[in-house]
């Protein structure tokens, strides 16, 4: 579906569901590709998380998102900003998997933010994309925290 065609909340949700499904499939592929057991494990977790998102969207349960990330401080470590863009097929190690995931969540955030901006005049859509954007921002935050605690343990 093309973003230009989004007219209603239903369509917006449908759009988001597709994005989450793509992410799920991407992580599924990574699980197969990754040689490192640690990376495998990480991708499984991420896949399950995306699947959870999809289900939430399918049952139209965006309220759960709202509550969760309002409480937690979002850091701005800007780790993802400077990480190299990894292509799925390049990913072998745990670190590469983390890099990819951090970048993906960041891109998703930027994407939803942009959509929220575009639909500023449509209160329903604006609210929906803003919630999704914040959700993805908080994922980026989580990924950066994981990166900070594992790869950057000595840094």
């Amino acid at each position: 579906m093309n973003t230009d065609n989004i007219q209603s909340l239903e369509q917006a949700i449908q759009f988001a569901i597709e994005r989450e499904t793509e992410a799920e499939q991407m992580y599924q592929k990574l699980i197969r590709l990754a040689e490192d057991p640690k990376a495998k494990e990480l991708f499984q977790e991420l896949r399950d998380m995306e699947a959870q998102h999809r289900q939430n969207l399918q049952t139209l349960d965006v309220t759960g998102f709202k509550e969760k990330h309002n409480q937690e401080r979002v850091y701005n470590m800007h780790i993802a900003d400077y990480l190299i863009d990894k292509k799925i097929d390049d990913v072998r190690t745990y670190q590469e998997g983390l890099m990819l995931a951090a970048r993906r969540e960041q891109m998703a955030y930027q994407y939803y933010s942009l959509l929220a901006e575009i639909y500023r005049d449509n209160p329903g859509l604006f609210e929906f994309f803003s919630v999704m954007a914040r959700e993805e921002r908080s994922h980026q935050n989580d990924m950066e925290k994981v990166y900070d605690e594992t790869v950057f343990l000595y840094n």
């Binding site: 470590m77 900003d81 400077y82 343990l153 000595y154």
Partner: protein, 598 residues
């Protein structure tokens, strides 16, 4: 206020009575106020006391017992505390206050309070701090570290001077002379609190006492009881033991590491170690164990299994044994001949090592499995994390572990005259100090503050003395290209620290716009490492449990595949040599149990 002449004169009136015997006793009975330094009943600050029992040991009247105040206290206490507390039998106490003098924590004191007379004999059995929770209000005789029977100052270690050090890879620490070692050993109160936090539980107070008495050979025997690389640990151990030594509470902890170094260095070569330790080698039991990796964990497993009569073979990818203590730790901290001597000794008791044999290349894992009754994996963390930013693959952007490996293998590495090391752990410091020795100006870029650096503080100090510049709160953004594919410099931004509400370490947040460029010849990444498990067949990988990249084992280092054991950096979270030894030592028992229970 009304002026009172009587009040002014009163003290003088009382003075007239001085020296005269009183004929009456005040009723109700009032206790006399006693002298300031009066030695009355004990008080103990139960929070500060760590239950070292030194008070009880010193008491010449055997008046002090160490007891549990509540049942289970000794089992539930934190490491660094025995959970016991002193109880004084005042029927025996002579108030010499020796116990107060030797209390390292300063928790024990005497008070102005005394039991004049009592019909209940049990009131003389006194648990300081429990019997008088308010005792801190009436302290009289307290301990003072400035003049004490305990010696709170460490015998300083002699070192090469900073400028001298960077001229070569000569060992920096010069070691204790006999008298210095005895003097340092004599400071130990023998409490054994340290042994619990040592991952392998070395018998610390015992070998220290042997050193104090000049019996270095006994010290060596005690050290080799559960650590076959005691000399390595004597030089480079992360020494958690010293963090809990009670002398450190108000002074300097015993130099446990340097004392171990002193004793083990007394055995000058492998034959002398063999002669002194004179191990009891059991006759062959016909069981074979294969070990992958000759790092500290693998060597420990091999050594103790060989003593127990097992046929052990280590498969090692590299040309020399030792793992990261050979190819990681620089030679100015752990000289080659010291390590060679330790490995040679292990070979002399029957440890076989196949060098240049990488499992997965020269030999398959399956073949090792087939030929042995049990397998131990101790391959360490050798694959470096990359810095992960643009330009990381430019020429002369290298990895610390590879750099150190090459230098330790005597290879030439051209790092030029200006180097930046990225990271704040011991590996970063090692790479920086080695670079100084190769003549470069060195800057360490670290994302957090100096106090957050995981590196040992003495290493950080050492690096500074050698002229290494440490730039903190500096976040690398990208490596700058000189136009021909070589490193020209690094662009980094400054950060502010933000506390983690959940209690984690503070996180650096990039300050946007505050960016700088450091011109360089070489960039060395020292961010961290992970393991390469590619040699393990898929079906076994599926069965072995992994958690955050580490292999999951039970307390005997056994994986969920019963004949496969694992240890060292790929299992424990502490990632140092002594933890690897501890894993190896536990695996020995595990393997023995597993093989003989079959």
């Amino acid at each position: 206020m009304e002026f009172s002449l009587k009040g002014m004169l009163n003290p003088l009136l009382a003075l007239q009575q001085a020296g005269k015997r009183p004929h009456t006793i005040q009723f109700p009975f009032e206790e006399k106020k006693v002298a300031e330094r009066y030695r009355g009943l004990h008080f103990n600050d139960l929070e500060a006391c760590i239950g070292c029992g030194t008070c009880s040991t010193i008491c010449q009247n055997e008046a002090i017992d160490m007891v549990e105040i509540n049942p289970g206290d000794s089992e539930n206490a934190k490491p660094g505390d025995s959970g016991l507390r002193p109880r004084v039998d005042n029927g025996r106490c002579c108030w010499c206050a020796l116990c107060v003098e030797v209390c390292p924590s300063g928790s024990l004191s005497l008070t102005t309070h005394y039991n004049y007379v009592s019909e209940d004999a049990n009131s003389f059995l006194w648990t300081p701090g429990v019997s008088n929770p308010d005792g801190h209000k009436e302290l009289s005789f307290v301990s003072d570290t400035s003049h004490s029977l305990l010696d709170y100052a460490r015998v300083p270690m002699r070192e090469l001077e900073g400028k001298e050090r960077i001229k070569s890879f000569a060992e920096v620490v010069l070691g204790y002379a006999d008298e210095e070692a005895k003097k340092e050993a004599a400071r130990c109160i023998g409490c054994s609190i340290c042994t619990e936090v040592c991952p392998v539980h070395m018998h610390i107070p015992e070998y220290i006492s042997a050193i104090e008495h000049g019996n270095n050979e006994d010290a060596i025997r005690i050290i080799y009881d559960n650590n076959p690389i005691g000399e390595t640990c004597g030089k480079v151990c992360t020494r958690r033991c010293e963090e809990v030594c009670p002398l450190g509470a108000r002074g300097e902890a015993i130099a446990i590491r340097w004392l171990k170094r002193y004793a083990t260095e007394k055995a000058e070569n492998a034959e002398i170690i063999r002669e002194i330790v004179n191990p009891d080698i059991k006759p062959p039991n016909g069981k074979k164990v294969g070990i992958i990796g000759a790092g500290p964990s693998g060597l420990t497993v091999a050594y103790y299994l060989a003593l127990r009569g097992f046929d052990v073979t280590i498969y090692e990818a590299k040309a020399k044994a030792g793992g990261m203590i050979m190819y990681g730790i620089p030679k100015y901290r752990l000289p080659l001949d010291s390590l060679d001597k330790q490995v040679e000794y292990m070979q002399s008791v029957g440890v076989k090592i196949h060098f240049n044999t990488k499992v997965g290349e020269q030999i398959s894992f399956t073949e090792i499995e087939k030929n042995h009754d049990a397998v131990f994996i101790g391959i360490g963390y050798e694959v470096p994390y990359t810095i992960g930013i643009d330009g990381e693959n430019l020429e002369n952007s290298i990895q610390a572990v590879n750099f150190l490996r090459d230098i330790n293998a005597d290879k030439h590495v051209d790092i030029g005259n200006r180097v930046a090391v990225i990271g704040g752990g011991n590996v970063a410091i090692d790479a920086a100090r080695v670079s100084r020795r190769l003549g470069a100006e060195v800057t360490i870029l670290y994302r957090r503050r100096e106090e957050d650096m995981p590196a040992d503080w003495e290493e950080i100090e050492g690096a500074k003395h050698e002229g290494v510049i440490i730039k903190t709160q500096a976040i690398p953004l990208n490596v700058v290209d000189d136009g021909s594919g070589r490193v020209k410099g690094i662009r980094y931004g400054n950060a502010r620290m933000v506390t983690d509400e959940k209690g984690g370490r503070p996180r650096p947040e990039l300050i946007e716009g505050d960016e700088h460029i450091l011109e360089l010849y070489t960039i060395i990444g020292a961010i961290g490492q992970e393991a390469d498990y590619s040699f393990i067949p898929e079906d076994i990988k599926e069965k072995i449990g992994f958690k955050s990249g580490r292999i999951v084992t039970n307390e005997w280092q056994q994986t969920s595949v019963p004949h496969i054991f694992a240890g060292g950096d790929i299992v424990n979270r502490t990632a140092d040599a002594i933890s690897a030894v501890a894993d190896g030592y536990k695996a020995v028992k595990g393997i023995e149990q597993f093989i003989f229970a079959k």
